[in-house]
Structures are given as structure tokens and as C-alpha cells.
């Protein structure tokens, strides 16, 4: 049986809408890459040039020549990775204790931890900056790493995960004589790998993308993180858009790689944050 014409039309319309949206979302990415490969005089060419005949990587060289962009990248990479690894370990420990162990004060501690979720970061910005200054941490990795670690969100989700995990394996390990700490590290933690992967993407992205705190805590050129680097580069090179776009491409390359490589985990982490947060 042939489908009626109207259903073909509907399908065509459906794909047309999908494609139009794809242009809206992918367009700026393509334009950014395209512009970063152009010479300056083609940036505002009329009509716009998508693929330049003078295509070159010169702008990228120029970015690294004019600023210590490799330093910004290193700073962001080092900070985001360290925060992610430490946060995962500490949150898993805390979440496990709240899910599996019995101890006095458990309910109070849990409620206390969860209620810190209500405190918006921007409200504690000033005291945090003063505290970090008092500790002598301004323009050091300490200021960028340590305050970024404690976060009730991660503890909460790992607790939820461990509560949903069957206890048999851990009990078996206990019977075999493993200590409680041993059970956590050798049995429970490896089982949490999928949640840890989703959370690690979430933490890494949040730290790589963070802007205001690094702007306040570490704005000395050699301590800048990449978002602050982009912002200051934009300020210093006003209308050199070909360079600014090259710098932006460099800045999102790691997150884009992460995005395409681990999309499954990113989607999982978004769903996790979304379902009854």
C-alpha cells in the first residue's frame, strides 16, 4: 500500500525543522572554526566567506605566540583533573558512609550536607575570596582546587547509587575477612564506575568552564585558567576576531573531544541531575 502524499509531506517537513535547528546549533561552531582559519581581511567579507581560499593555521600560531595560551590550558587541565579525581574519591567515601554504614548522627549529617545545596555560589563569593586571601592562596592552585571540591551534589548522588546497590557482594567480601575500608575500595568503588564516569564528566566540564571564581582567585597571567584567558585575550585584541576565534577553538577542543568521546556519560549525567534533583 502506498503512503498518501500528505504523510510524505509531513516527513519532509519534520526533517526540514530538524535540519533548520541543526543549523542554528551547529552554525556558530562552524562559523567559529571557519573564521579561525581566515586571514584578517576576510573576517567581515561581504558576502561572508565560509571556506577561505587563503585557508591557514597562522592564527593559531599567532595565539600561542602572543599569549601563554598553553599555560592557560595547562592550568585548566591540571585544576579540572585534580578537582575531579579528589572530588570523586571524597564524595564516594562520604556517600558510601551515608548509604551503608550505621553511626550516631547519620540523619543530621545527611540533612546538613543536602541543605548546603541551597547556598548559591554567588552568595558566598565575597567571604570565600576573603578567606582565600587570608590563607595566602590568591594566585595559587590551592585557591582554584580546594574550594571547588566540597559539593553536596556529588555526595548525594553517590549515596543514592550505593543505596540502590545490592549488598550481597559486599557481604561476601566481609565473610571472606575483608575490612570495611577494604570492602569499600575493592568491591563497592569498582561497582560505582558508571556513576563515577558520569559525575567525572560533569565535574570536569564544570571546572573547565568556570569563569567568575578563577577571575577573582587567580588573575595573574601565569595562573589564569582558560576561560579567564579567553576573556582577557578578547579584551586585549579588541577586533582581531580571527585570533579570538582561534583561541576559542583551542579552548573548547578538550571539552568537544570529551563531548563526542563520552556523550553517553554526559547524557547520563544530565538525566541524573534532572530526575528529581
Amino acid at each position: 500500500m502506498k503512503k498518501p502524499l500528505s504523510s510524505h509531506l509531513k516527513l519532509a517537513l519534520y526533517y526540514l525543522v530538524c535540519l533548520a535547528l541543526a543549523v542554528v546549533f551547529a552554525g556558530p561552531f562552524l562559523w567559529m572554526v571557519s573564521s579561525s582559519l581566515k586571514p584578517a581581511n576576510e573576517i567581515f567579507a561581504n558576502p561572508p566567506i565560509l571556506i577561505s581560499s587563503n585557508f591557514s593555521l597562522k592564527n593559531y600560531e599567532e595565539v600561542f605566540k602572543r599569549t601563554s595560551f598553553e599555560r592557560y590550558m595547562f592550568n585548566s587541565f591540571f585544576v579540572a583533573t585534580t578537582v575531579t579525581l579528589l572530588a570523586l574519591l571524597l564524595h564516594a567515601m562520604a556517600g558510601y558512609a551515608l548509604a551503608r554504614l550505621d553511626f550516631p548522627g547519620k540523619r543530621v549529617i545527611f540533612i546538613g550536607i543536602v541543605s548546603t545545596l541551597m547556598i548559591p555560589f554567588y552568595t558566598i563569593l565575597i567571604p570565600l575570596a576573603l578567606l582565600v586571601r587570608e590563607l595566602g592562596w590568591i594566585n595559587t592552585y590551592w585557591a582554584l582546587i580546594v574550594p571547588a571540591i566540597p559539593h553536596a551534589f556529588g555526595i548525594f548522588w553517590l549515596r543514592q547509587f550505593f543505596m540502590g546497590l545490592p549488598t550481597e557482594l559486599e557481604e561476601a567480601a566481609r565473610i571472606d575477612g575483608a575490612s570495611r575500608i577494604g570492602v569499600f575500595f575493592r568491591v563497592a568503588l569498582p561497582l560505582a564506575r558508571p556513576v563515577l564516569a558520569a559525575l567525572s564528566v560533569f565535574f570536569f566540564l564544570a571546572n573547565w568552564d568556570s569563569f567568575l571564581w578563577p577571575l577573582i582567585a587567580a588573575n595573574r597571567p601565569d595562573m589564569r585558567m582558560v576561560q579567564v584567558g579567553i576573556q582577557s585575550f578578547t579584551g586585549e585584541h579588541g577586533n582581531a576576531w580571527e585570533l579570538i576565534m582561534a583561541a576559542s577553538v583551542i579552548a573548547i577542543l578538550p571539552t568537544l573531544a570529551l563531548f563526542f568521546g563520552l556523550q553517553r556519560f554526559i547524557v547520563a549525567s544530565v538525566k541524573m541531575t534532572g530526575l528529581k534533583g
Binding site: S35, G112, S248, I252
Partner: protein
């Protein structure tokens, strides 16, 4: 038998007198080991939260009751900062702009991401491809998004104006003009967030049992009726969650505004958080800035309470 009783009474007596510590001593070995491991596991995170979240929150409150500039010592002034807030026209104006931003941001993101989620629930070829594309801006920081869009919004020959001109529409000054600056920073925020909320809403729609939808269709419901009477009501918890999170995000808009307009032109995009930031880190007036930050906290706190209330009441019903 006779010896057991006095010890039990004695233990209870001690416990009543000295509290948790002796309760701890009376626990059996296993219980005690559990408690020690638990405290050990919780210590770093709890300490971290106390020092870097709870402590600063209390400090923010304390500072808001003081007059404190960069140089000089804090001086207790009671509620004076809050009193000034009430009379400060700049505060009122920046709060108004935050509200304007929220009114522009929340419904737009919700409706667009819901539309996109519905589009992708239709089982079509290329769904995965489209979902990936729509979700891509999530991988980009707000700073970079702001930079790219500022480039595309260039009032001279930016890509957007070129495109508008090509189809015969009037070009705009975008971030350069009082009337379009707010729209410009909103477009960036909307563009950047819809993919994220699309995923959340999509998950919510896919959680609806397909029997419900099939049953409705057997009963003769068309696509619109299915959406209106089956999907929307069952999606209500997810929608509610999304709307509250969007409002909380909107109240804290900063990055792209800082990068694109710095609150200008003529303060057209000068939101509450811009004001808080500048008061603290440009004028170094910690007391007044903290008081405004506490007000911001109050607004977010109310939204969070509404959220908690809502989910508690729906949980009870289910």
C-alpha cells in the same frame, strides 16, 4: 542474673549523664568499627563543606551587617545596608533587569526545549544525530558562547546582520544598542541551555509508560490531544523541576553578560549579579555587596523551598 541488672542500669545512667560519647563506648565492636570508618569517610567532605560553604555563608550574613571596605576594619552597622538597598535606585533597576532577563529566559528555554524533546520522541532516522547536534552547546562554556555570539552580532558586518540583510530585513545594533542588548545576551543563554533541558524533558517523556499513549490513541485521541491530556499532565513533575532550575539559573546570569556587554550599554544589561560583583570587586565595598548577595540568596531560597514542597507533596500522593 542479679549481676546483669545493675550494670545495665549503670550504663544507662552514664549514657544519660554524658550523652553520645558514652553511647559510643557502649556500642559493640562492629558498631564501633562502623562508626569510626563512617566518620573517617565523612571527615574530609564535611570539613570542606563547613570551611568553604557553610562558614562563608555565615560570614556573608555577618559581613552584610557591617560597613567594610578594602582598607579599614569592619564596623557593625546593624541593618543599615539593607536599609540602603531599599532606597538604592541602582539596586531596584538592576533587580528589575534581572527580572526582565528571567521573564525572557525561563519560558523561552522551557518551550523551545520541550518542542525539541517532542520532535525527537518521534522515532525517525537520524534522531541520534540531531540530538547530538542540539546538545553540542552544552560542551561549550558560557564565556566562549558569549565571545562567539558577540562576533556574530557585530553591528557592522557580523554574520547575523549579513544574513538579515541578505533576506531584506533591517539590521540591528545588537549588543551595541540599549534596546537590543538584553535580547542579545538572552539569545546566547537560550541557545546555550536548550539542549541541556531538552535531554531532561526527553528523559521525562520517555519515562511515560507507552501503554498510556497507546490507550489514548486507541480511544481516538489525535497527536495534539495525546500531548495535551496524556503527556503534559504526566510530565508535570519534570516540567516543574525544569522551570524552577531555569529561574534559579536566570537569577544568577553573569558570564556571557560580563563577556558581551559588561552590563552596558547605558546599563541595559546591568543585572543584580553584575552590581554585586562590581560593588565587591571594583569598589571593594564588601558590606553592601554582601547584603545584596544575601537578598539574592533569599530569592533563590524561596524558589528552592517551593521545589522541595512540591516534590514532597507529589511523593506523598503517589
Amino acid at each position: 542474673m542479679t549481676t546483669a541488672e545493675p550494670t545495665a542500669i549503670g550504663a544507662a545512667h552514664v549514657a544519660a549523664r554524658t550523652g553520645p560519647l558514652s553511647r559510643f563506648q557502649n556500642m559493640n565492636r562492629d558498631k564501633r568499627e562502623q562508626a569510626i570508618v563512617a566518620y573517617l569517610f565523612l571527615l574530609p567532605d564535611v570539613l570542606g563543606l563547613l570551611i568553604f560553604v557553610v562558614g562563608p555563608m555565615l560570614l556573608a550574613l555577618a559581613i552584610s551587617f557591617s560597613d567594610w571596605r578594602l582598607t579599614g576594619t569592619p564596623e557593625f552597622v546593624g541593618l543599615r545596608n539593607y536599609d540602603i538597598i531599599l532606597k538604592d535606585p541602582k539596586f531596584g533597576a538592576s533587580l528589575g533587569r534581572t527580572m526582565l532577563y528571567t521573564i525572557g529566559y525561563v519560558p523561552a528555554v522551557y518551550l523551545i526545549s520541550l518542542g525539541m524533546a517532542l520532535l525527537l520522541t518521534r522515532r525517525g532516522r537520524g534522531n541520534f544525530f540531531f540530538r547530538t547536534i542540539y546538545f553540542m552547546p552544552v560542551a561549550m562554556s558560557m564565556v566562549v558562547a558569549g565571545v562567539i555570539w558577540r562576533f556574530m552580532f557585530d553591528p557592522g558586518n557580523g554574520l547575523i546582520n549579513e544574513m538579515l540583510g541578505a533576506v531584506g530585513l533591517p539590521t540591528l545594533q545588537w549588543t551595541g544598542h540599549v534596546q537590543s542588548a538584553m535580547v542579545s545576551v538572552l539569545i546566547v543563554a537560550i541557545w546555550k541551555s536548550v539542549g541541556y533541558f531538552m535531554i531532561i524533558l526527553l528523559a521525562g517523556i520517555q519515562d511515560i509508560p507507552s501503554d498510556y499513549i497507546e490507550a489514548a490513541q486507541i480511544d481516538g485521541a489525535n497527536r495534539w490531544q495525546t500531548f495535551r491530556f496524556i503527556i503534559m499532565p504526566l510530565l508535570r513533575p519534570t516540567s516543574f523541576f525544569v522551570l524552577v532550575v531555569l529561574s534559579i539559573n536566570a537569577l544568577q546570569a553573569f558570564d556571557q553578560i560580563y563577556v558581551m556587554t559588561r552590563g552596558g550599554p547605558a546599563q541595559a544589561t546591568y543585572t543584580l549579579l553584575m552590581y554585586i560583583y562590581e560593588k565587591a570587586f571594583r569598589e571593594w565595598n564588601f558590606g553592601y555587596s554582601s547584603a545584596m548577595a544575601v537578598v539574592l540568596f533569599g530569592m533563590i531560597f524561596v524558589l528552592t523551598l517551593v521545589q522541595v514542597r512540591y516534590f514532597r507533596s507529589t511523593d506523598v500522593r503517589q
